[in-house]
């Protein structure tokens, strides 16, 4: 089906990997640009989970949970669910993850008077940039499927937007360029 499903994963079993491939393509589907699996996201996730033992039980439990839910709610294999069934299964998880992220951001930022500067946050510039393989801390209260979905959604976004497809084709980023001069501000009066 895709290039991604033809490789041999090092952590995931073949049936787990097929579920993972499908899941990442639901998160970032193929549109006019390739979806997650064609961007190599499942290989990336397999690599990260292989290297980070702390993700392994969650990744395994979450994939098993998806398979069991698909069976009990729709009497189907996860990989053959249709779009509305995927949405029914994942939308509540996605909403919960987004809500938690928003709350976290609101705690971090505050509105500034004047309207032009929306958010101000004090950061520690001495902190080194987070490597792409690091995954955001989970709040321990979140239930397993939510924590699992957050892990995979974050890894999918990380993997997609650090891939050639995501970075170059979709975002139109072209890397560090040699510029003949500094492009002065060309935005009309704000």
């Amino acid at each position: 089906m895709t290039k991604a499903s033809s490789i041999t994963p090092s952590f995931f079993a073949a049936d787990e990997y097929a579920v993972l491939v499908r899941l990442t393509d639901v998160i970032i589907p193929e549109t006019d640009t390739p979806g997650a699996s064609r961007a190599g996201v499942p290989e990336y996730i397999d690599r990260v989970v292989t290297a980070n033992k702390e993700h392994q039980p969650l990744a395994r439990a979450g994939l098993a949970w998806l398979v069991a839910e698909a069976r009990s709610r729709f009497s189907r294999d996860y990989v053959s669910l249709d779009e509305s069934q995927h949405a029914a299964l994942l939308q509540p998880l996605s909403d919960a993850v987004d809500r938690a992220a928003r709350e976290q951001q609101q705690a971090r930022y505050r509105s500034a008077p004047g309207g032009r500067i929306y958010y101000v946050a004090v950061t520690d510039a001495a902190q080194p940039a987070r490597p792409a393989v690091a995954v955001r801390k989970d709040s321990s209260e979140a239930v397993m499927p939510e924590r699992f979905f957050r892990l995979i959604k974050n890894l999918t976004a990380d993997g997609y937007y650090t891939s050639r497809v995501g970075l170059l084709e979709e975002l139109g980023y072209s890397g560090n360029k040699y510029l003949p001069g500094f492009p002065q501000c060309s935005v009309p009066e704000h």
């Binding site: 510039a125 792409a132 393989v133 072209s174 500094f182 002065q184 935005v187």
Partner: protein, 329 residues
């Protein structure tokens, strides 16, 4: 080599050690430059123009493989932190030298701004510092190359700051805005602290050390981590003892003068480790204060979203990093 006695042994090859080695060599002094890290090739060792998918875990490493200990915070490598610094190069002002008089804290320096100003002039002409002459008492002007234009975000902030009586000025960086001494001008590619592959940004290895080595008076001992300054019975420093990072063996470099210039914490650590019967608490520590009251480079940040730029086309204007300095109102 073991029997050679150099005129000067300098520990550390960064902004201080590298510059000093070069200037001493010009005066005919023979110098041993002892550096704990590897040599760095600016053209090939940095990953400035790499993309994340070229690496299996999608993280662009600061350096090519085989350059351990060379990270962005405390760098070991020929050139020291200048290889990965941001290059902001500000002068101290008279007020900075007289902190106790003005703020009641610390101690006043025994020198004044005017004592140091000629040396600022000299090093700025030598390494190239871009900036605008703003005429500020607390941020004295220097021998500047033309400033680099402000970013859109800086211009927005500048107008906002002006409305509350604050100033935002061009940054002053030891990065060339025009070509100089066979070094090209900045090409605004990206993060200066990931290394500058064309040496538009000053680093002591390419600008000071390598030319001095070619002159024959500077000998670089790289990968040699100094662990002790040796002191003679006559109470003179006679050289240094090091451990070779790769070969795992000890060595000595002897000289008439020893200069400790290996970053703030490591310099102090070296002096504290240089214990002898005469100096049981380490060298230069008769007060017992060495290494106490340590204040590192203090950093912090404010992050904001500028609504005025919302919806505007994305621009490739992150190269060169900082473009502006916000002055305290």
């Amino acid at each position: 080599m073991q029997s050679t006695v150099f005129d000067a042994v300098i520990v550390g090859s960064g902004a201080a050690g590298g510059t000093l080695a070069s200037h001493l060599a010009r005066q005919g002094v023979t110098v041993a430059l002892v550096e704990g890290g590897p040599r760095v090739d600016t053209r090939t060792d940095f990953n400035t123009h790499a993309l994340p998918f070229e690496f299996p875990n999608r993280q662009i490493p600061a350096m090519r493989p085989g350059k351990p200990g060379f990270d962005s915070e405390r760098s070991r490598g020929v050139g020291g932190k200048t290889m990965l610094w941001n290059a902001v190069a500000l002068r101290f002002s008279q007020r900075d030298f007289k902190g106790r008089t003005h703020d009641g804290a610390g101690e006043d320096w025994p020198i004044d701004y005017k004592d140091l100003a000629p040396y600022y002039d000299r090093i700025e002409r030598e390494v190239g510092v871009c900036g605008n002459r703003d005429g500020l008492e607390d941020l004295p002007d220097g021998e500047f190359l033309p400033p680099v234009p402000l970013k859109c975000s800086d211009e927005i902030l500048q107008r906002a700051a002006a409305s509350v009586g604050a100033r935002i000025i061009h940054v002053r960086k030891a990065t060339l805005s025009v070509p100089m001494n066979s070094r090209p001008a900045c090409h605004f590619c990206g993060n200066c602290m990931a290394g500058c592959d064309v040496v538009a940004k000053y680093n002591s290895a390419d600008v000071h050390i390598v030319p001095a080595e070619k002159g024959g008076r500077v000998t670089v001992f790289h990968d040699s981590i100094v662990r002790e300054v040796m002191v003679s019975g006559g109470n003179r420093a006679t050289g240094v003892r090091y451990l070779h990072r790769i070969h795992k063996r000890e060595g000595e470099v002897r000289g008439c003068v020893v200069v400790v210039a290996c970053a703030c914490a490591q310099s102090v650590a070296l002096l504290l480790m240089s214990k002898s019967r005469r100096y049981p608490a380490g060298l230069a520590n008769s007060s017992g204060q060495l290494g106490r009251h340590f204040i590192p480079h203090f950093t912090g940040g404010i992050e904001c979203v500028l609504g005025g730029l919302k919806g505007s086309r994305s621009a490739n204007d992150e190269g060169f990093l900082d473009h502006a300095i916000v002055l305290r109102g």
